[in-house]
């Protein structure tokens, strides 16, 4: 025989719904997401001056189904087809279907460059 008061029944009901949601979500994800490799995309923001140099915000998107570690990226400024300046950062973690933000510094104004080249050097699979 189960004897419970209204408070206990409501906590049980809320917990039950919560468990169904979590189990359902994980189950759905397990069935639909394939173990596809990480797919990294670099998005460059708008540079602004800071302390005599220029700071350029960058966003790293992982559109793939695998989380990765130590993502190394390189951003280069190109003038007339020639690389004038290069900056690099390493992102400690980039989870699947997630975005992480960072910034790189340049001596010259990235807005004046002909082209900004972004490059993923590599990452580690945890």
């Amino acid at each position: 025989m189960v004897r419970k008061n209204a408070l206990e029944w409501s906590i049980f009901a809320v917990s039950g719904v919560l468990l169904l949601l979590v189990f359902g979500y994980l189950g759905y994800h397990a069935l639909t997401s394939e173990d596809e490799p990480a797919e990294i995309e670099i998005e460059v923001g708008v540079a602004h001056p800071q302390g005599g140099r220029y700071i350029l915000p960058v966003s790293l998107h992982n559109r793939g189904g695998q989380s990765v570690e130590d993502v190394e990226i390189e951003i280069s400024l190109l003038q007339g087809g020639v690389t004038t300046e290069t900056a690099a950062i390493t992102m400690p973690f980039l989870p699947r279907l997630s975005t992480r933000e960072g910034s790189v510094f340049f001596d010259s104004d990235p807005a004046q460059a002909d082209e900004i080249e972004t490059l993923v050097i590599g990452y580690i699979v945890p």
């Binding site: 004897r3 008061n5 906590i11 809320v14 917990s15 979590v22 397990a30």
Partner: protein
């Protein structure tokens, strides 16, 4: 979680009806709130180290959803086992055990999400899959802690006289029951250490002598806690005529549980992937010492 219906032990069926007829059909709200309070305290007591461990947050997004689902299912089965064999109500039906387990898991998930949000580990900016992963991986330990806290941290119910309390505390348990509780206690104690990088690093450089010493130390600690140190509750599980063979056999059994729990947890956290046999064995033995404490001292406190 019915309150105030602890009976006088399962092998005393005549007495079982008395508490049920003496009390109102619904336990008081105040009593339930106190139980939830104890549960929350117990949940945090066991899981705060995990909530504050970086590797745990990372496993929330590194592990695949099917592995997280498996983790949640195993935790639920462990909760059922704990509530059945060591929970507050030894006469509880499976329906009550299941309802309690669902509640405890719900509380565990909510507490985990709340703490991770307060600590800034879960924010509105991160993907839903990452937030759910982080919450689930810590929430399961919180849930088992909630169960342990509810059952063990409370004062005996007011309507229970001293003799009944003593009988309940002295209730002997079967050896398989002890192994189940030892398994859960080992997970609770070693769970805080299993995900850390330290165990993988220890696995890399522990030498043969270190490993032999760790095995002997683990066995000695188990034997000491179970049979010699007069630990709380140890007496009632020890057979009347204790022989050296019993001491060695039982210590070895509980050490086996500790090693099994260690290996399972390390496998679960992906520490065995691509690792050689020696690396796996060394890491298991390193974690096994911690799990041994759970299987012996932790088990006695939980039961």
């Amino acid at each position: 979680m019915p309150f105030g219906c602890v009976t006088q032990g399962r092998d005393d069926p005549e007495n079982r009806t008395i508490p049920l007829t003496m009390h109102a059909p619904h336990p008081p709200i105040r009593g339930s709130l106190q139980e939830y309070g104890r549960g929350i305290a117990g949940g945090l007591l066991f899981s705060l180290p995990m909530l504050y461990t970086m590797e745990m947050w990372q496993f929330g997004f590194i592990l695949r959803p099917e592995r997280l689902l498996l983790y949640a299912v195993i935790s639920f089965v462990l909760l059922l086992g704990y509530n059945r064999y060591a929970g507050l109500h030894h006469d509880a039906s499976w329906a009550e055990v299941a309802i309690d387990s669902v509640e405890e898991m719900g509380i565990g998930i909510v507490l985990s999400a709340l703490f991770l949000a307060i600590l800034g580990i879960i924010t509105l900016d991160i993907a839903l899959s990452e937030a759910v992963g982080k919450t689930v991986i810590a929430g399961m330990t919180v849930a088992i802690g909630v169960s342990v806290g509810t059952a063990q941290l409370g004062a005996p119910p007011e309507d229970e006289d001293e003799a009944a309390t003593a009988r309940r505390r002295e209730r002997p348990s079967s050896f398989p029951e002890q192994l189940v509780v030892a398994f859960i206690a080992a997970i609770l104690v070693a769970g805080n250490i299993a995900p850390t990088d330290e165990i993988a690093i220890l696995g890399m450089y522990l030498g043969t002598l270190n490993l032999v010493a760790l095995v002997l130390l683990s066995l000695a600690l188990i034997a000491m806690i179970l049979f010699f140190a007069n630990f709380t509750g140890a007496g009632r599980h020890v057979p009347e005529n204790l022989t050296l063979a019993t001491v060695l056999g039982r210590s070895a059994s509980f050490y086996a549980v500790a090693l099994l729990v260690s290996a399972l947890m390390l496998w679960f956290f992906g520490r065995f992937e691509g690792a050689g046999l020696m690396q796996c064995l060394s890491a298991t033995i390193a974690l096994g010492l911690v799990a041994s404490f759970g299987a012996s001292a932790g088990r006695l406190l939980l039961q």
